[in-house]
């Protein structure tokens, strides 16, 4: 109740901008980002660079959706990768077995993911912290074993071989590398924009309340279980989208896509980039893939290098890269205005 204290901080923290304007700003940023990414093939013929961006799209969608659970809701899932794998396999199988147009397979895969995530989520989100983490991991292992053992349907440890047919639709030919690149960028930007909207909606603030103090949220009339289940399913949809981009990219699906290490990489990316900002996981994705690509070129012990890097972030900075940058800017602004 110290008025003096209050008066001082009021000048330090700017009043947050109008909600409607923020939305336009986000759309504008998305358009600019898409324009930059889409024009990249005009300036470079490097297939490796475009491939990197496609992989960043797949992993970025996956990692950002994991942040909806970890960073925004406080649900640390160790099995989020199952939806990445589920997306890749559902999409691949639908294309191979049914030969429907790509958009139909896309929507059908999202529908399948929603149903599976709703069932798994209904069981998991009642559990607290470590139990939630481990039961999600258990479901991941279940899905992975199912893929391995149901060889007649999934190809077992060989994965979905023989390629995924990519018929033209609406003038888009995904077997063309540049078309696939542009489509991946578009999916990434649209996915990020949708997740940003979720994070900044009233529901997004409900998630923050649950993260901070779920008991209090329920005393405000919020059905915590339903909110957690909703975000669990929503996050699964975007992870599944990432899996589909991956399946399109490699023209197949492999058991590794559904292995627990994918979930581990998701957590790893979130630790690298930071969970306190929306774009943290995206930054983490680019960092991890770049690190992976460069380190594997020089040494076969890339696991050690990656381990050292994550230790540096976890123990040294105690936060992700973008968390660190955001805090640094906040400090600078405070110092500047305090003078």
């Amino acid at each position: 109740m110290t008025e003096l204290e209050a008066g001082r901080t009021r000048t330090l923290v700017p009043v947050r901008g109008d909600a409607g304007l923020q939305r336009y700003r986000d759309v504008l940023i998305a358009l600019v980002a898409f324009a930059v990414l889409a024009s990249l093939p005009l300036f470079t013929g490097s297939k490796a660079l475009l491939d990197l961006v496609i992989r960043c799209s797949a992993y970025g969608l996956f990692a950002t959706s994991l942040n909806l659970l970890v960073g925004y809701t406080g649900l640390t899932s160790f099995g989020h990768g199952m939806f990445f794998g589920l997306g890749a396999y559902s999409f691949g199988l639908i294309m191979q077995k049914l030969g429907v147009p790509i958009p139909v397979a896309f929507v059908a895969t999202l529908a399948i993911t929603a149903v599976v995530a709703a069932i798994i989520g209904a069981i998991c989100v009642r559990l607290k912290e470590i139990y939630f983490a481990f039961v999600t991991l258990a479901f991941q292992m279940l899905i992975h074993s199912t893929i391995l053992s149901w060889a007649s349907f999934t190809g077992g440890d060989q994965g979905l071989r023989g390629g995924i047919a990519r018929p033209r639709f609406l003038g888009i030919d995904l077997s063309n590398h540049v078309h696939l690149y542009i489509a991946s960028c578009a999916l990434l930007i649209l996915g990020l924009l949708a997740m940003r909207q979720i994070a900044q909606s009233p529901f997004g603030y409900t998630l923050r309340m649950i993260r901070d103090n779920a008991a209090r949220a329920s005393f405000l009339g919020i059905d915590v279980w339903r909110a957690k289940l909703t975000v669990f399913v929503l996050a699964a949809l975007f992870a599944s989208m990432g899996g589909m981009v991956m399946a399109l990219f490699v023209s197949g699906a492999y058991p590794e896509f559904a292995y627990w290490t994918i979930s581990g990489e998701g957590i790893f990316i979130n630790m690298l980039g930071g969970v306190s900002t929306f774009l943290g996981p995206m930054v983490g994705t680019v960092l991890l893939l770049l690190l992976n690509d460069t380190v594997t070129r020089f040494t076969e012990y890339h696991g050690i290098v990656l381990g050292v890097v994550i230790l540096f972030f976890a123990l040294g900075l105690r936060k992700g890269l973008l968390d660190f940058v955001a805090e640094w800017f906040a400090h600078r602004r405070d110092a500047g205005e305090g003078r």
Partner: protein, 251 residues
Amino acid sequence: MLEIRNLAKSFGGVKATNDVTLDFPDGSLTAVIGPNGAGKSTFFNLITGALKPDSGQVLLDGVDLAGRSPPEIVRHGIGRAFQVASIFKSLTVQETMLAAVSADQRSSAVLHRRFPLPETRDRAEHVMELLGLAGKRNRTAATLSHGDQKLLDIALALVLEPKVLLLDEPTAGMGPEERWRMIDKVRELWETQKITVVFIEHDMDIVFKIAPKIVVLCYGRILAIGTPDEIRNDSAVIEAYLGTEHAGAAA
């Protein structure tokens, strides 16, 4: 009107709330006192749904709420604040208020619009002014002083526009001066908002000064109900509670 009928709850063999029957008329201000372990917080937890009663009724305007979930009970109009300020540490004061109004207006699951919704502003603003938090609207809750956190907790309950407000030790952990300021605030809220207020308090000076009606709990039972004067002179209360306190023994 909030009517408690034969409310009971046991933990193992301990009867934390033992056949409690009480009426809280609309617009009343009641203090609940009692030695530690008397079942005061349990009593609040039973009314608000944090605990399910073994038996008995919690009637708000004739509707039995006993055993329902906290969200349901809140929606029927029973709000509460906590002994240890229960707030959202990473949200600012203003975001906290806006999000709470969203929850009350059933827009907490809205996905297609941006936070905050314009229709939540007036109510959030009103309650921030009421509790003197408007000047600290952009402060993150975790950085507020202890007293302000308690106020924010009460603001969270109040912004839902409850019929009954339950305050579990609004002055817990405060210095003597801060206590009086807080309790004056509670009294002012009770007078201006015309709601039913029930509060738990340990400081006898405060209780006797501001509460028109006092309920004394002991071992889960009602020991006495009455005006401050009646309670002060009640032999059972003196023996079980006030007497030991004056003798300096830890309750």
